[in-house]
């Protein structure tokens, strides 16, 4: 039994490494772009976490220091495979970046001027937009659709859009919004508890 468990763990860690290698290789244009890949590989294929967990993981990854992709990889890695799981998930995530950028660094001026690169990236940008919108669509089923949830969603969305369009910079706005959400959640739990004891 013990041997079987150990074998499983080893395979899990290997799978974590390979899965996050994919995530690292196909995340373009910023941390959130990893979400669709993680959904496909981690939620749908491996079933290590579900969509609801993804939202929690993102909230934590946004609230802690460091790149959100690294935070998410470490978190999921730990859940699946403990310390070594998180280690190899993070390594897998970082490796494609490291290799590709290291190679490009030798001829980066030329790389930048390659119109092919710019053209491909424009296409990729469009792809990322579609993937992000699709991700929102898939994730919304994991959110409770009570009036409070809808209200929080609408307010947060409005705040982000308005601040960006008016070009008002509020430092750590994402942190503030997340903290507000946590607070409202706690208060809501408190109030519902009061209701029950009445």
């Amino acid at each position: 039994m013990f041997l079987v468990k150990k074998g499983n763990k080893f395979i899990d860690i290997l799978l974590l490494f390979l899965t996050f290698l994919k995530v690292g290789a196909f995340t373009f244009g910023g941390g959130y772009a990893m979400i669709p890949i993680i959904q496909r590989e981690v939620v749908d294929k491996r079933k290590w976490v579900n969509n609801s967990d993804i939202l929690d993981i993102l909230a934590i990854s946004e609230s802690t220091p460091g790149p959100i992709a690294v935070n998410a990889a470490t978190f999921i890695g730990f859940k699946v495979g403990g310390f070594f799981g998180s280690l190899f998930a993070t390594l897998g995530l970082a490796l494609p970046s490291f290799i590709i950028i290291y190679i490009i660094s030798f001829f980066y001026k030329t790389f930048m001027e390659w119109t092919l690169v710019q053209a491909a990236f424009k296409g990729l940008s469009v792809g990322v937009i579609i993937l992000l919108l699709n991700a929102v669509f898939k994730l919304k089923s994991a959110v409770k659709t009570n009036w409070l949830g809808v209200l929080l969603f609408t307010i947060a969305l409005a705040v982000m859009l308005v601040l960006n369009f008016l070009q008002i910079k509020v430092p750590m706005i994402t942190l503030i919004l997340i903290a507000s959400g946590l607070l409202v959640g706690i208060v809501a739990t408190l109030l519902s508890r009061k209701e029950k004891t009445k």
Binding site: G24, L55, G66, I101, Y108, G127, V136, V143, F153, G185
Partner: protein, 191 residues
Amino acid sequence: MIYFELFYIFFLIGLFTFGGGYAMIPMIQEQVVGKGWMSEAQLTDFIAISETTPGPFAINVSTFVGSQTGGILGALCATLGVILPSFIIILIVSLIMSKFLNNRFVKGALNGVKPIVLALILSTALLFMVRVLLFGGNSLYSVDVMFDRGALGLLLLLGGLVIIKKKVFKKGLNPIMLLLLSALCGLILFS
């Protein structure tokens, strides 16, 4: 020794950057350009490339700066530096959380935060869409508004394909395939 300096600087950057790689740019400017390790122009180039290459922005930039200032060992030190704070902190958070997962208030708090996170992702998607369609991928208002018909066309085309695949073929979307397809279309249509 430059290697230890790189590790230390990027460790600090990793430790004090919240909510996404881009927030680290001012710190990098201060530390790296300030020390004269590279020019402002070089850093701007690195940032541009790090945005377009695969992988997390923070890791791309660290590897870049590290390799330019200290070769492969420099790249390793910088990248390890930026990753380490995240790694340690998340491990601690994971350990703590596993004890409190069934707490009512933790559950309640997480329920409150989920719609916020969803809104953040949607706003990112929408703002990115505006950037690509109206500002050629640059930050809002940093350049004149120029409506990009090609990008809109591709968006509608690929979007339509995804919807058809879902409704007609009942098959989910494969993100990697979509990315490869969109890169290919980009190469064909935009070069």
